[in-house]
Symmetry: C2
Subunit: 440 residues, 2 copies
């Protein structure tokens, strides 16, 4: 279930709410800068942003999870090495180019870390690099080094919002979530990600800052647990990025915290950010929330939920406000059949928007129910589809989330104790427009 | 590799070629009829076609493979029972409604078989039913029974084309392939399928007729082998239907055949039909042919090829003639990482259209190569994208296949002996239009 049910009338209202969320925990600073450049690989100019997150004093309490993609980006390779370092003092993030399998990629990331370290009087190994954007291109390192001083100069201790803005690529709006810990202190997280989102042990780029005093090992265990039920339970397009990274940093400035409360808070912030990522997914007009119960085990429940939200045919039907629930059954059966799960259709019970659609293995459909299901889909739409002005280019007409409603799909299988909640999205003309010609 | 490289100037030229392929093997007849009805579940009228394939004398030499989807349609349940029967004499196929998890679904299929049997003087268990179309709706059995005599009256022994027309749903054109066996006799196959296509041990609806005298067990073994490298190696949208069915019938009228030649012919017809299905896939503007070599084993090679052709981000890039090869690497790495394959990026070699794009783990890209890759994508396009007249409804402007060119993707991993060829397609505005509002 969502932790909030916010609605926003316009972008200004959303920005005002973001500002209330974005106060930095004690002991952190944030900043960003931007510049123009021409990639080595294409002749068209591009714009890159650099975001900086820094600690007033480097901390040993840091945690990070990275993509399991077998072709990881250079910053992921460098980041994995950093996990063994005693302290972290800064994170540098660039958008536009993800630095994956690029000639000289690791050297480029290390060079940038060294430049940040020089400016902030840190050791190079105390800087964590992150990159997101086009896969295959090389970083414009010299131009980035020139742009660094502006990012350093912009550092301030009030708001994380400039950094949340600075890490966006195709995101329509920044994503910021906070949790105020009992007894003082807070957890504040930002996320970037809108496409290539089916994280495998981490998601695109997520930074979680807390001033709670948490030991490194506890922070790492808490992060694994929180990511499992948040970023590992979402999918926008079933594609797992080469750059997925979730980082958690604890400054300790607010002193000790109750362990249970901290874990609950971290999980809450991760789940809220994960839902934000889906809601702001490329071309997303409907969020789907699939609640699976009665699966053989939790992994099966998660896999079945993922199969449902990743079915192109169900996704397109939802996009069209078409309650084609046969495709829901197809998607479930596809996954169960492919994995050889013992699943008895006669014990299955499926709902959409609370309406029973299949019970005892048989569909329960009639014309009146069809109308109610359609109404549920329409109510969950983030914006109505409009014809493209040029007949071919579909752009979302909003740059803020209007509401937090979802298409609610319930799956009860009667085949065991496994349960999971999975979030996904529809597949729209806006998604095709965004991705058929993203680079050029 | 494709067995043909045909080009067609227009629909008439394609129909003329189909006629040359569609001569029925000896011992078979084919026919079809159509009628209007109003489904129980929605108020809008619909049109259903019935196709009949019959044997002059029921045969014991028949084989069938069905979907592994865990929610199989009633005709699949009935069809599995038929595999144990001594003989088969007729196949009845309806489109528009797939009869899956519908109340009374099995009874409806058996009733139709009994009616066909009565008209053709067969036993009801000598009739195999097939249904394709909307999942969840009930068959209009009485209206179908009324339409049966017209289908029976249309039976003729010359051409399979009326049946190939009769089984289509969203297909743009019928799919017919033949192989003339050495020493007389032939194998003729028809296929239906355009969406919900990632078969798992079978594909949508495929009927293979031969007049060769083949024993039942040999026919069944040959079919399993042929399907493995044809229908099980394609994907249009990663969705596995609840109705997938491949049937092979041997009349024996042409006498014995060399076993090796028969297997080669059956495999050839299956692979050609599988490619036809992809080329005529919903909204398909580019066919992708992925050749994987050097994978740990054949299953891994297949899985990696499937991951490539099923990546929504690569599919949309291809749709836009955008050689965003970073997404190809992402898709490979997603699958290898998720499955824990030992895959060393430094040993990988990737090509597109014969151009090296990654070698030794590093991208090999420049502006001139980018132009050549774009030209390869444009050359493989089945038709150029045009703006929708109403700004929202994209329909393919062709109802025949212009050519048999594909986007050629080569993957060499240096990680073992596993090889596979996988066919897939792009993801276009036409696909979204087709599926966002298919039923209503």
């Amino acid at each position: 279930m969502p932790s909030t049910s916010l609605t926003f009338a316009d972008r200004a209202a959303h920005r005002a709410w973001l500002a209330t969320q974005g106060g930095l925990p004690r002991g952190f600073r944030a900043g960003a800068s931007a510049f123009e450049f021409t990639p080595f690989e294409v002749a068209k100019p591009a714009r890159m942003k650099l975001a900086l997150l820094t600690l007033d004093r480097p901390t040993g309490a840091f945690a990070a999870l990275f993509t399991r993609n077998a072709f990881p980006g250079a910053p992921v390779l460098v980041g994995r090495r950093r996990l063994g370092e005693p302290r972290l003092g800064a994170v540098l993030v660039n958008n536009k180019i993800s630095n994956v399998c690029a000639p000289g990629g690791v050297e480029a990331s290390e060079r940038l870390c060294a430049e940040v370290a020089r400016a902030l009087r840190l050791s190079p190994t105390e800087v964590l690099p992150s990159s997101t954007g086009v896969i295959g291109w090389r970083l414009p390192v010299e131009a980035m080094v020139e742009a660094l001083p502006a990012a350093v100069a912009s550092l301030q201790g009030q708001s994380i919002l400039p950094a949340a803005d600075g890490i966006m690529t195709t995101d329509l709006y920044p994503k910021v979530r906070r949790f105020d810990l009992p007894g003082g202190g807070s957890i504040v997280g930002i996320a970037k990600g809108a496409g290539m989102i089916e994280p495998n042990l981490a998601t695109m780029l997520v930074y979680l800052l807390t001033d709670a005093a948490v030991e490194r090992e506890e922070l790492r265990a808490a992060l694994v647990a929180a990511v499992e039920v948040s970023f590992n339970a979402i999918s926008i397009d079933s594609d797992t990025s080469t750059s997925d990274t979730v980082v958690a940093l604890a400054s300790g400035a607010a002193g000790p915290v109750d362990r249970t409360a901290f874990r609950a808070g971290l999980t809450r912030v991760c789940r809220d950010l994960a839902e934000d990522v889906v809601r702001n997914g490329e071309g997303v007009r409907h969020v789907m929330r699939v609640t699976v119960r009665g699966a053989p085990d939790a992994a099966a429940a998660r896999a079945l939920g993922k199969a449902v939200v990743n079915s192109p045919l169900l996704k397109t039907a939802v996009a069209g406000n078409d309650p084609n629930v046969g495709r829901l059954v197809m998607a479930l059966g596809k996954e169960a059949g492919a994995k050889g799960m013992a699943l008895d259709p006669a014990r299955a019970r499926l709902t959409m928007g609370g309406e029973p659609i299949l019970e005892g293995g048989l569909f329960q459909l009639d014309r009146e129910k069809e109308r109610r299901l359609t109404a549920h889909l329409v109510a969950a739409e983030l914006y109505p589809q409009a014809p493209a002005a040029d007949g071919i280019t579909f752009r979302p007409p909003v740059d803020f989330p209007r509401h937090e409603r979802s298409v609610e799909i319930g799956i009860e299988l009667g085949a065991g104790p496994g349960a999971a909640e999975v979030l996904g999205a529809d597949l729209t003309h806006e998604y095709v427009t965004e991705n058929a010609d993203y680079r050029s």
